[in-house]
Amino acid sequence: MNRPLTISLKTGVFASVLALAAGGALAETTVTAVMHSDLRVLDPIITTAHITRDHGYMIYDVLLAEDAQFNIQPQMAEVAASDDGLTYTFTLREGLKFHDGAPVTGEDVVASLQRWGKRDTGGQMIMDVTESIEAPDEKTIVWKLKEPFGPFLATVGKQSGVPPFIMPKRIAETPADQAIQEHIGSGPFKFVPEEFQPGVGVTYTKNEDYVPRSEPASGYAGGKVVNVDKVQWVTMSDSQTAVNALQSGDIDLIESMPVDLIPLLEGDDTVVVEKRAEYGFQTMGRMNFKYPPFDNPQIRKAALMAMSQEPVLAALTGSPEYYKVCGAIFGCGTPFENTTGTETLVAKGDPAGAKKLLEEAGYDGTPVVLMQPTDGPTLKAQPVVAAQQLRDAGFTVDMQPMDWQTLVTRRASMDPPAQGGWNMFFTNWQISEIASPINNVMLNGRGDQAWFGWPDDPEMEKLRQEFIDAKTPEEQKAVTDKIQAHAIGVVNYVPLGEYNFPQARRAVLTDMAPTAVPVFWGLKKTEE
C-alpha cells in the first residue's frame, strides 16, 4: 500500500518541478503573424504565389542564396565552375537532414532541381541548355551545360518567384503539374500538418536538428539561427481586424500594413511600424497584344501617354512616404535601373498628346476591356484610376469587376475580349522578381508562349539572348538599357511606380532581418 503512494508522490513533485521550469526560463515562445495573404497552396514549385514562396523559405533550404548585397553565397552547398563555364559542381555541407530524419543526398537535390526546372521561367531557360544533372555520390551534384549560361549562379541562387527548394527525392518526383502531398524540407522550421487549416492558419515549429552555417545571417544567406519555438501564421479577414488584434496583443506582426491604418497605431509605444526591406513592389499594367485596340502599337503608346503614376500610387498606398514614381522596368535603385521613355508617366501624363495620337492611329472607339479585381487590398485601386485616365484621353473603357481568382483565370484566355478575353489588367511584382531580363517574365517575346498579353517580339528575344551571352556587368547593363528603350517603345507593359507597405510589429519582436521575403530566422521575442 505504501510504495505506490511514495512513487506517485515523487512523480508529482517531479512533475511540478518540470512545470516550474517550463513556466520560467524554458517558456515556449510563439510568434503569431498575419501575413499578406492566406496560405492555401503548399507546393512552392507549382505556384508563384508569394505566400507559398514564404512558406517555402520556412521549411526548405536552398543550395545557394543571395546575401544582403545581392551576391550569391553558398547555403546548403559550395559550388565550383569549370573554366569553360559548362560544368558546375556542387558539394553539400555536413549535417543536412530532412525533417523526417533522413540525410540530404545528391539524389534528392537532382530530383528537386529537375522539378524546379520544369516550372520556373529562369529554370526553364537553364534547362534548355542543360546537358545533364547527376549525383555521382551522396554529397556531390554535377550540372553539365551544352553552352555557357552567363547568369547561371544568379538564376539558381536568386530570391524570386520560384526558388529551387530542396525536397526529398520521393516528393520531388511528383509530376510538376501535380501538387506535392508531403511537406518535408531540411529548412530551419518544420511544418505541422495537423495544425494546417487553410483559411485559418498554419503552424511551424523550430527544427531542432537544423545546423546553421557559421557565418552571420545576411539576406537569405548565412546562418539561419532560430530563436523562437513556434511560428504561427493566422489569417484575418481584413486589415482592420488585424490592427485591432495587434493592439490587443493577440498577434505580434502584421507583415503588410495598409498605410491608411497607420494613424490608429500612432502613440502606441508597444507597436512599431517600419519599412521592412529597402525594396518593395512594382505595380504595372499589361495590355493584350492579340486584339484591338491594343494590337496597334500606336494605340498602346497613346495609353502609355494617357497614364500618370502618382494618382495610381496615391490611391493604392495613401501616403507619399510609402511610394515613389519610377519609370524603370527593372526597378529603381537596382543595377539595371534606366528610365528611358517614361517622362510623361512619372509626371502628369499627356492626355492631350494621347488624344492626338489616338486620332492619328484611327482609334474607332473599340472598348478597352479592363479587368478590375474587387478583392485584394493591393490590386483594387490601379484599374479604377487607370480607367479614368484612359477615358480622359478619349478611350472607351469597359471596366469589368471580378474577384482576383476570376481575373487569374480569365487573363489566361486567348479569346477575343468580347468572348471572355480581355484588353488590360494590373498586377504587382516584388522588385527582385523584375530586376533582370531573366526574371522579368513580361519581357518574354515568344508570342503564344509569352506571359499573358502574348507579345510576339523577335527583337526583344534577340536582346534577351544578348543579355545571357553578355560576359561582364558593363556589357549586361548596355543590353538592359536597350531593353528598357525597346520595352517602353513597343509598350511591352506600363510600369506604374513602386510602393512598399510597412510592417507593424509589437515592440517585443526584435532582430528582424530586413529582407523582402519575411523570414523568421534571426528574430527574437522578449517576454513581457
Binding site: 486589415s239 482592420q240 491608411d260 491604418l261 496615391a314 490611391a315 474587387t374 484610376v385 469587376p401 471580378m402
Partner: protein
C-alpha cells in the same frame, strides 16, 4: 378577398390577429410612408442634390474628414462621400425593386402552374424545397462570384432564393381558390386553361403578392449590402449603399461615417418599407403572417 369568409369562421381570433401588427401604433405607417417618400425623392433627384460627380476621383484628396467642400468627407479614391451616398441609394432601391418584380414574376408563374396542374406540382415543389434548403446567402455569393459582379447577376442572385417563397404562397392561394364555386363554374363551362389561370386564379394572388413584394424589396436591399460586404457586390464604378459601406470597412476606425451614414439611410429605408408592408398586410389580408416559411 377571403376576409369575409374567414371573419365568419373565427371573428375573435381574426380581430386579434389583425391587431398584432405595429401598424396599430397609430401614426407608424404614416410616418414610414413619409420617410420612404423622402428617401425616394432624394434618390430620384440625386443628380441635383449631389454636390459633386460621385465618380470623379482625386486620389491625392482621399479619406478627408467632413468639410464644407465635402459634407461627409471623401472615400478611398478621394470621391465625395455624400454624392456617392445619394446616388448609391438610387441603385440600391432599383436593385430592390427589380429583384422584387423578377421574383414575383417567376414565383407567380411557377406557383400558378404548381397549384393548378397536379402532375407538375410534385416535381416543382420538390425543386422549390431543394432551393429553399440551400442557404440563400451562400447561393447568392456563389452566383455573383461565378458570373461576375454586374447589376444583372446581383439581381439574379438575390432573386433566385426568393422565388420558392413566392411559389409556395401563390400555390397555397391557388389551391384554395380553385375549389371556389366560380372557378368550378368556369371549368364546367369549358373556359380555357390560360383563361382560368390568369383571369380567375391570378387576381386572388394579388393582395398577398403586394405584401410579399414589399418584404422582398426590403430584404433585397439588405442582401445587396451583405453581398457587397462579403466581397461579391457591384463594381465601385456604380455606387450602391452596399459597396460604399463595404469599402468603408477598412477605414471604419478612421472615419466610421463611411459605414454609418449609408447604413443609417439604408436602415431608415428598409424600416419604412417593412412598416408599410405590415400596414399593407393588415389592410389587404390580415391572416398573412410575415415571411411564412
Amino acid at each position: 378577398m377571403n376576409t369575409s369568409r374567414s371573419a365568419a369562421d373565427k371573428p375573435l381570433t381574426l380581430r386579434l390577429l389583425s391587431q398584432i401588427s405595429p401598424s396599430h401604433t397609430g401614426f407608424g405607417p404614416f410616418i414610414a410612408a413619409i420617410m420612404l417618400l423622402a428617401v425616394v425623392l432624394v434618390t430620384i433627384f440625386s443628380p441635383w442634390i449631389a454636390t459633386h460627380d460621385p465618380l470623379a476621383m482625386d486620389p491625392l484628396m482621399r479619406l478627408k474628414p467632413p468639410s464644407e467642400e465635402h459634407i461627409l468627407g471623401t472615400d478611398g479614391f478621394g470621391r465625395d462621400l455624400f454624392s456617392r451616398m445619394v446616388l448609391g441609394g438610387r441603385i440600391s432601391l432599383l436593385i430592390g425593386l427589380c429583384a422584387a418584380v423578377v421574383a414575383l414574376g417567376f414565383g407567380i408563374l411557377i406557383g400558378l402552374v404548381a397549384g393548378y396542374f397536379r402532375i407538375a406540382d410534385a416535381i416543382i415543389m420538390r425543386a422549390m424545397d431543394a432551393l429553399m434548403a440551400m442557404p440563400s446567402i451562400l447561393i447568392a455569393i456563389a452566383l455573383v462570384a461565378l458570373n461576375g459582379p454586374s447589376i444583372g447577376s446581383v439581381i439574379m442572385a438575390i432573386t433566385i432564393p426568393e422565388v420558392p417563397r413566392v411559389v409556395r404562397l401563390v400555390r397555397s392561394v391557388v389551391l384554395t381558390a380553385r375549389e371556389e364555386p366560380y372557378v368550378e363554374a368556369a371549368l364546367a363551362l369549358g373556359s380555357s386553361t390560360p383563361k382560368i389561370l390568369f383571369q380567375h386564379l391570378l387576381p386572388n394572388t394579388m393582395a398577398p403578392m403586394i405584401v410579399q413584394g414589399t418584404y422582398i424589396v426590403a430584404s433585397a436591399i439588405l442582401t445587396e449590402a451583405l453581398l457587397s460586404f462579403l466581397g461579391a457586390g457591384i463594381s465601385t464604378e456604380i455606387p450602391t449603399w452596399g459597396n460604399i459601406m463595404a469599402e468603408g470597412r477598412q477605414y471604419f476606425r478612421i472615419n466610421p461615417g463611411i459605414i454609418l451614414w449609408p447604413g443609417l439611410l439604408l436602415t431608415i429605408c428598409v424600416l419604412s418599407i417593412n412598416l408599410i408592408g405590415d400596414a399593407a398586410r393588415d389592410a389587404l389580408d390580415p391572416r398573412m403572417k410575415k415571411r411564412e416559411a
